[in-house]
Amino acid sequence: MKSALDSLQLLRRHKVVGGELVLTSVDFFVDWARKSSIWPLTFGLACCAIEMMAAYASRYDFDRLGVFPRPTPRQADLLIISGTVVKKMAPAIETLYNQMPEPRFVISMGACSNCGGPYYDSYSVCKGIDKVIPVDIYIPGCPPRPEALQTAVFALQKKIDRYWDAGKRVANPSKPTNEVLKEINVAALKARDA
């Protein structure tokens, strides 16, 4: 079966006895796995969190994108800042961010976490989460629709795919020599007969 990945020349397929051999670079494979299972932290702040919950529920069903909320930062890749960040909460968010394993990503959802939103002149609101932690994707809206969050997830997937470790990836995996293919075939035959 040919896929879009073949046309990108990111993997090569070879027929061997009993199946197919796929050669690719580890960087590509890791990124592919990483972008297909982005696990966000179960963490809601304000009104936008309700739209985030709607995105996890049956109509928008983020499970099909591999996005599945985890209740602890130790297992999460993605932090969705969904709501107003107030000055009392900002240190806690920083702690949560620091507890997440690398590589970690942040989506700033809604006007409040982008810049303060309707509370731009409030004495207690932090004017943007990017004053506290680095942000990968910003979503405008008050609140953004679940579709907007979905678009942000797609954008994040693209970012992981294209830019995450750009430069390190081998775009064109080298072709194995005939001897190597022969060895693989012999091993596959042995395994089949065993």
């Binding site: 932290l41 179960t42 963490f43 809601g44 702040l45 304000a46 009104c47 969190a49 309700i50 739209e51 919950m53 709607a54 529920a57 049956s58 109509r59 928008y60 069903d61 209740p71 930062p73 709501g83 107003t84 107030v86 009392k88 909460m89 806690a92 949560l96 309707p118 509370y119 002149d121 409030s122 004495y123 207690s124 609101v125 008050c142 609140p143 629709r145």
Partner: protein, 388 residues
């Protein structure tokens, strides 16, 4: 005494907790719940003092979502304040709009057209249903049942939001009820679609009962847990479904009707002993009652304008006013002091969740750690409203 290694360092801050720490005995432990915890429904932090598994004390710590709304109100004109009121209790934004507008209308002494009153009742009740559906779903998750969430939150609530979106273009923050009436008239055939939705909901409510109300595991975890007696509830100033679950029959919609509530027949569901199950059941039955009101309002839907005679830029006369509605969480009040300008001099909100949250430390005392989650869920507070 050797320092307790489990004690979170953040507890050391603040005068409230300094005194708490001195009271910790050798076999006692302080446990920090929140502000990031999946079952606190927002950013509430509760510091629990445990004796083994049993809770001896619980102190809620709020302010993780304090947005300074009451101060901001002094810098916003009245129409701009309706926008802020949406975001206090974001699960029932319509009722928040209503409380604020009711107060300003009292000052302005405007006549509300009947059609607008009916539209307010319909959207207010639909919003109550949507809010109780969120409760139904998330309470199920707290207890350990995930499916009710998908039914109530993912399917049925979305249908209500579709109706709202058709009406005013927004899903959560509507800004629909305005001073003098409502923003827009209902689109053509809207009431018909609302009635269709009510019809669709009837068999689904039976499904709801099968999933949770009659579920033996759910019943075991909630019946008799977290008792709040009627006297305690009244003493604490608790209102709304939590008060009615304790057996006190008090509902502003029936006892001090505002809007067009006089025109409709509905029951006020009551609980027996005020445990978690009763608090759940009262809300579940309120969905049925609200749908009944919506149905009656759609059948009797009058014609006419939807906006009273209000200037674009209104300046209420100087004075003070208090108005309240019975929202999904209890009495939602708005207290406004006007000095005759286009901005309020002072706007105080009486948020039901904030006052209901007082009951938390009373209720959880003596219960086991695992019951805390059930009790927290059954109180159904919204932190945006608690912290303002």
């Amino acid at each position: 005494m050797a320092p307790n290694p489990i004690r979170p360092s953040a507890v050391l801050q603040g005068p409230v907790f300094e005194t708490k720490i001195e009271q910790v005995g050798d076999h006692e432990m302080l446990l920090n719940l929140g502000p990031q915890h999946p079952s606190t429904h927002g950013v509430l932090r509760v510091v629990l003092k445990l004796d083994g598994e049993v809770i001896t004390e619980a102190v809620p710590d709020m302010g993780y979502l304090h947005r300074g709304v009451e101060k901001l109100a002094e810098h916003r004109t009245y129409p701009m304040n309706i926008v802020l009121s949406d975001r206090n209790d974001y699960l029932s934004a319509m009722n928040n709009n209503w409380a604020f507008c009711l107060a300003v209308e009292k000052l302005l002494k405007v006549e509300i057209p009947l059609r607008a009153e009916y539209l307010r009742v319909i959207v207010g009740e639909l919003n109550r249903v949507a809010s109780h559906m969120v409760f139904y779903g998330t309470f199920g998750i707290d207890i350990g049942a995930f499916t009710p969430f998908l039914h109530a939150f993912g399917r049925d609530r979305e249908e209500i939001l579709d109706l709202f979106e058709e009406m005013c273009g927004a899903r959560i923050t509507y800004n629909y009820i305005r001073v003098g009436g409502v923003m827009l008239d209902a689109p053509e055939g809207w009431t018909h679609r609302v009635l269709q939705f009510v019809e669709r909901m009837k068999p689904r409510l039976v499904e709801y009962d099968k999933l949770l109300t009659k579920n033996p595991i759910f019943i075991d975890r909630t019946i008799g847990v977290g008792l709040l007696s009627a006297e305690q509830a009244v003493d604490l100033g608790v209102t709304g479904p939590i008060l009615r679950a304790s057996g006190v029959s008090l509902d502003l919609r029936r006892d001090h009707p505002y809007g067009a509530y006089n025109d409709f027949q509905f029951d006020v569901p009551l609980g027996k002993q005020g445990d978690c199950y009763d608090r759940f059941l009262v809300r579940r039955l309120e969905i049925t009652e609200s749908l009944k009101i919506v149905e009656q309002a759609c059948r009797k839907f009058p014609d006419g304008p939807v906006m009273g005679k209000v200037l674009k830029m209104y300046r209420p006369p100087a004075g003070e006013v208090y108005a309240q509605v019975d929202g999904p969480r209890g009495w939602l009040g708005s207290y406004i002091v006007s000095d005759g300008t286009e901005k309020p001099y002072r706007h105080h909100i009486r948020p039901p969740s904030f006052i209901n949250l007082q009951a938390l430390s009373e209720i959880v005392k003596g219960w086991k750690m695992a019951d805390v989650v059930a009790i927290l869920g059954s109180l159904d507070f919204v932190l945006g409203e608690v912290d303002r």
